[in-house]
Symmetry: C2
Subunit: 269 residues, 2 copies
């Protein structure tokens, strides 16, 4: 899915919601007996018209055991082509090895994009960028407490690490193939992040369970293609735990979509 098609979908649905498909059998409604695929399908059916992207995190599928990747593949197949699919894997290795991770995400799973960790530098990221029509979503500023340990320190007395990652990576890939993960705990930060990379989409975790301020993120982070995919996982997945869980999930997604429609009216240039 290219950037124009993603923006068209955002405008049509008045939503830039990404639903994180991080299914945890221990938190799922009891009557599903731990059937993650059935849970995912119900969540997807309940939210299709309210979101533009789905983001399963590979850790949750590895946790299902040796058949986990099959359930992930079946989930991505079930989503279909209308939505932007993100394999949240945070992979990264030397070049010839990253190539295999890219092939798994793009060919085996058939996803539109994969999240990648920048620590090993250019040759660990570029193999992901070599796939035409696919996207690399690079970790820049994350929203967890540990982001303070290394990401905020200046590099060689110049930019903080997260900013250097963004400016360097913008030399490796265009806004039509590369996005950045940008955490949402400090909305004002988005003014700085947006100035660094005006045209790039940001994948924003941290709305909902991790806290975070949707209005502020939009005020400071939106660009003329919206430029934001805002993720919610637990707040949608576990909105209810009864037979009507999917209705509760839909209501939670609807609430976010309504706020997003309002933000698009207010902040889309």
């Amino acid at each position: 899915m290219n950037r124009e098609a993603l923006f068209e979908q955002i405008q049509r649905k008045q939503s830039f919601l990404c639903v994180g498909l991080d299914a945890d059998p221990a938190k799922m409604p009891a009557h599903l007996n731990g059937d993650v695929l059935a849970f995912n399908k119900a969540i997807i059916d309940a939210t299709r018209d309210l979101c533009v992207a789905y983001k399963p995190n590979t850790a949750f599928y590895e946790a299902l055991g040796l058949d986990g990747m099959r359930i992930l593949k079946e989930t991505i197949d079930y989503i279909g082509d209308e939505h932007f699919t993100i394999v949240d894997a945070k992979r990264g290795d030397i070049g010839n090895t990253s190539r295999y991770y890219a092939s798994f995400a793009f060919n085996t799973l058939g996803a539109d994009s994969i999240t990648v960790a920048p620590y090993m530098g250019s040759d660990s990221v570029k193999p992901f960028l070599e796939y035409d029509g696919k996207w690399t979503i690079l970790l820049a500023l994350t929203s967890n407490k540990g982001s303070q340990d290394f990401q905020h320190a200046s590099q060689d007395g110049e930019q903080p690490l997260y900013a250097k990652v963004m400016t360097r990576a913008a030399e490796w890939g265009t806004a039509d193939q590369l996005m950045f993960v940008c955490g949402a705990t400090q909305a004002e930060k988005f003014a700085e992040l947006r100035a660094l990379t005006p045209d790039y989409f940001f994948l924003v975790p941290g709305i909902g369970a991790q806290g975070g301020d949707l209005e502020g993120v939009c005020k400071f982070g939106m660009n003329d293609h919206c430029g934001l995919l805002v993720n919610s996982s637990r707040g949608i997945l576990y909105a209810g735990d009864g037979e009507d869980f999917a209705d509760k999930s839909r209501a939670a997604a609807q609430d976010l979509q309504t706020k997003m429609a309002s933000a698009l009216k207010k902040y889309l240039p």
Copy 2:
């Protein structure tokens, strides 16, 4: 496997060799018809007495498709308990998600250790350290070209990023549960790395296909428990491509073991 048991094995075998089980069907001997498990078993049988560790990289198993993790699990089962097993996965995510990656490596696969990426900081690393008797191997200084992009830059005008990762992480985990990945392209660097973390084991890639200087690494990097696991993948796996490939692999491993025995005599304090 604890640090004393690992050191005992190193002394008994006069080897600190780690064999990287990165099987690529395209490079395997033709008569195996792409049977990675058969290839791995032959390599393991041919090298058991010459090495102390095996390191399969998850990317190569994901590349096998949806049954890849099953082949990885069967490979680790086949290795057994005598050797130290490393799942080279370079994982890392927010705390509750890293917990699932840890469970997959330690419980589902039954490995002794997993490699972890430090970009997201303390709470992305600590869930791996919570497993008694298991090991976290944290990326510090890698041997690829891209390591120049971020790892060598100073953080807040003080240490370079790789050194800060090592000193900070040494506060999170002891030398009995934490190792570091330290690349081998500049052997002199190991004097500095060893001074930063005197007691910790280093997993050293980059001997063989990536170049690297075994003698220099030992001279500057060895400690009183050896403190080094030196990996070779392609140089051993693809030493031959005929019916006798396992004999060729054994000869390549034997060559490294002989050099390691000599280095242990010379440099073990």
